[in-house]
Symmetry: C2
Subunit: 364 residues, 2 copies
C-alpha cells in the first residue's frame, strides 16, 4: 500500500440492498471490496477497489492449513443528515498491526489502510443503513496466500476490506444475557495468541459455545488457562463487573483481546470519576461479592453490541442473578453515551469520531 | 461421501514432474485432487476427482476468519517393483475425525475417505518417486466455506485431498538437529485445541520458531502451558527421551497431538522389550539425567522425518549435548526399521501397510 494510488474498478451491476428492518449480522455484503497484495522483497502493492468477488486460493495456501490470518472489526454509522462516522478506526489499524506481528505477518501502513477504508466506504455509502441501531460493519483482514505445505511464515499475503450492513443488536431494546462460566475448555493462555485477533482463537471457542447454547446460555465466560480461577473475557466481548461501587475489568495480560470498546469505557468511567480497576478478578471473589449483595452489575463490551448487560452467571451450576436480571443504570448510561457519540447525537468530547468527509477532504 | 461413486474428470494437460533428486517439501502438487462437499441437512455429497485447481471462496468464508479447518498428513511409498504402500492411513482418517469433532465440524466416513484416497493415488501413481527416502505426501483437509461473519460452526464444508511428491528428509543421511526449549511462548494448553490437527496450533507456533531459527536452532521444544515445566512436543513431531535404559515420552494429555509415528514407535519398543513409559517428564528431570550422564538419546518422531535425532537441547542458555551430537543406536534402529517397513524392505509384522493394489481390488 506504500502510498500508492488506489486503482478503482466499479461493478457493472449493483446488488439489491437488504431491508434495514430485518438485517441480520454478517450475511449481506456490499458491491465492492478493497484488496492489496504483499510479496516478500516487494512489500505491499497493487491497492485496488474492485467488485465483491470470490477469493481464489491455491488449495495448498498457508491460510487454509496453518491459519496465518488476522482480522479486525469496526463500524461506520450514518445519521439522517447523511454524515458518516467511524468510531476510533485508527485503533483498529493499530491493533491489526499487533496481531500481524504476533502471527509473523507483514505490518500494514495504518494511515494508508485508513485511506483505503474511507475511499471504499465513500463508494458504498448508500449501503449504510440509518435506522437507529443499524450500521455498516467493516471487516479488514489479511491472509497468507502462498502455496506451501510447510510450517513457516508465508512470503505472500493479501489484505482485504469487506463491508456488511448490519441490523440493530437490540431490536427490542437493550436486555440482559445469560452467561455460562467455562470450566472445561480454554480459549487462550499466556504465551499463546489470545491477545491477537486471529482465526485460531475463535475456532477453539466453538466447542464450549455449542455446549453453552444447548444449556440455554448465549455466551461463555472464559477463565484463565493456567489456574482456571480468573475471569478473562466473553466470546467476542471484554467483561466488566461492578462490585460495591467499583468497576473491575481483567487487566490486559497477553491472553485477552484489548477491546476498543473496553478502552473507551475505561476512559468514560474515569472521566465520570467512577472508581475503576484493571486487575485479576477471580470467580471466588465474584461469588463472594454476590453472596454479600455487592455484585451490582455485570456487562460485556464490544463493537457488535457496544454494551451487553449480563443477567445471569452460571458457575458450575451455581447461578448468580445480577441486578434482578435487569439492565443496570451504569450499563444503560454507558450504552447510551457510547451509542450517542457513535451516531452523532452526543458531543464527541474525546475525539473518537472520524467523519468520512473530513478524512476524504485530506485525500483530495 | 456417503457410499456415493466418485465422479472422475481427468486433466487435459499434465504438469512436468519435478526431478526426484532435488525435490523439496510441500512445493509441487500433482495433476488432480479429490473434493467432496458438505451441506447441513444433506451431509457429504458430490465426491469427485478433478484437475488440481484453485479453491474459490467467498471473502467472508468462515475458514478465513474463524479458522474452522483441520488437516492430516501421511505418505505413500513406491518400491522399484511398482508396489505402492500407505503407512497406517486408517489412523489418519480416525484422527481427522477426532480433530473434526473438536472443531465442531462434520465427521467424514473413514472408509469412504480411504477409498477416495486410494483412487486418487492410483490416478497419480506416476507422480510417486522411487528414490530412497522419497515419497508422495498426502494432505487431506476440511475447510468451512460458508460465507458468514459470525462465530458459529459453519453449515457448509469442503473436504480436499491434495498430493505432493517429496524428497528425502535426510539427503546426507540421518543426522541430529538442535532444539531450543521454549520458555516464552506456548503452543497449546489443556482445554485448548492442541490435541487436534488444526490450523491455529501451527499459526501460534510461528513466532517462537522464528526466534529459534535466528539463534540457529531448527525447532522448538514446547513446554506445558500451565506449569511451563513439562515437555510436550516439537514443531510437528512428538518427542522421546532415552534415560538410563528407559524410553520416556510425554503422555497424551489433551494438549499434545497423538502422532501415528509415536504410536508405532511405542509398539516397536514394547515388542523389543525395551522399557517405555508414557508420562509427564519435566525439564528438571531431563537436566538431572544429563548431569548424571544418563541422558542417552533424544529423538523426535513424525511423518515427515520418521525419526529426528536431537543432538543439542538448549534450555534457557544451558546446553545439553546428547550422545556427543551423534545419532544414537536406538534412534538409528528405529529409523531403519520403520523406513524399511514403509518401503517394503522389511516384513510388515504389525500389519501397518496398506498396499494400493489390494485396496483397489476391494473396490472393483
Ligand atoms: C475475543 C474478543 N474480545 C473482545 C472483543 C471486543 O473488542 P472491541 O471492543 O474492539 O470490539 C472482541 C471483538 O471485537 C473479540 O473478538
Ligand atoms: C503438532 C504435531 N505433533 C506431532 C506430529 C507427528 O504426528 P505423526 O507421527 O502422525 O506424523 C505432527 C505431524 O504430523 C504434528 O503436526
Amino acid at each position: 500500500m506504500s502510498r500508492l494510488p488506489i486503482q478503482i474498478k466499479l461493478s457493472d451491476s449493483k446488488k439489491e440492498k437488504p431491508d434495514p428492518q430485518t438485517l441480520v449480522f454478517g450475511r449481506n455484503f456490499t458491491d465492492h471490496m478493497f484488496i492489496a497484495d504483499y510479496d516478500e522483497g516487494k512489500g505491499w502493492h497493487s491497492p485496488r477497489i474492485v467488485p465483491y468477488a470470490p477469493v481464489t486460493l491455491d488449495p495448498a495456501s498457508i491460510v487454509l492449513h496453518y491459519g496465518q490470518t488476522v482480522f479486525e472489526g469496526l463500524k461506520a454509522y450514518k445519521s439522517e443528515d447523511g454524515t458518516v462516522r467511524l468510531f476510533r478506526p485508527e485503533e483498529n489499524m493499530k491493533r491489526m498491526n499487533l496481531s500481524l506481528d504476533r502471527l509473523c505477518m507483514p505490518r500494514i501502513d495504518e494511515e494508508q489502510a485508513l485511506h483505503a477504508l474511507t475511499q471504499l466506504i465513500q463508494i458504498e455509502k448508500d449501503w449504510i443503513p440509518t435506522l437507529p441501531g443499524t450500521s455498516l460493519y467493516i471487516r479488514p483482514f489479511v491472509i497468507a496466500n502462498e502455496a506451501f505445505l510447510g510450517v513457516a511464515p508465508a512470503k505472500k499475503y493479501q489484505f482485504y476490506i469487506i463491508l456488511c450492513p448490519v441490523g440493530s443488536y437490540y431490536k427490542e431494546g437493550i436486555h440482559p444475557i445469560k452467561i455460562l462460566v467455562e470450566n472445561e475448555f480454554v480459549r487462550a493462555v499466556k504465551g499463546g495468541t489470545g491477545g491477537a485477533k486471529t482465526a485460531g482463537n475463535y475456532a477453539s471457542g466453538l466447542k464450549a459455545q455449542e455446549a453453552a447454547d444447548k444449556k440455554g446460555y448465549s455466551q461463555v465466560l472464559w477463565l484463565d488457562g493456567v489456574e482456571r480461577k480468573y475471569v478473562e473475557e466473553v466470546g467476542s466481548m471484554n467483561i466488566f463487573f461492578k462490585i460495591n461501587g467499583e468497576v473491575i475489568t481483567p487487566a490486559i495480560n497477553g491472553s485477552i483481546l484489548e477491546g476498543i470498546t473496553r478502552k473507551s469505557i475505561l476512559q468514560l468511567l474515569r472521566h465520570w470519576n467512577i472508581p475503576v480497576q484493571e486487575r485479576k478478578l477471580s470467580m471466588d471473589e465474584i461469588r463472594g461479592a454476590y453472596e454479600n449483595g455487592q455484585l451490582e452489575e455485570v456487562f460485556g463490551t464490544g463493537t457488535a453490541a457496544v454494551i451487553s448487560p449480563v443477567g445471569e452467571l452460571n458457575w458450575d451450576g451455581y447461578k448468580m442473578i445480577v441486578n434482578d436480571n435487569k439492565t443496570g443504570p451504569l450499563s444503560k448510561k454507558l450504552f447510551e453515551t457510547l451509542s450517542n457519540i457513535q451516531n452523532g447525537n452526543e458531543k464527541d468530547s474525546f475525539a473518537w469520531i472520524l467523519k468520512l468527509n473530513s478524512e476524504l477532504a485530506k485525500l483530495a
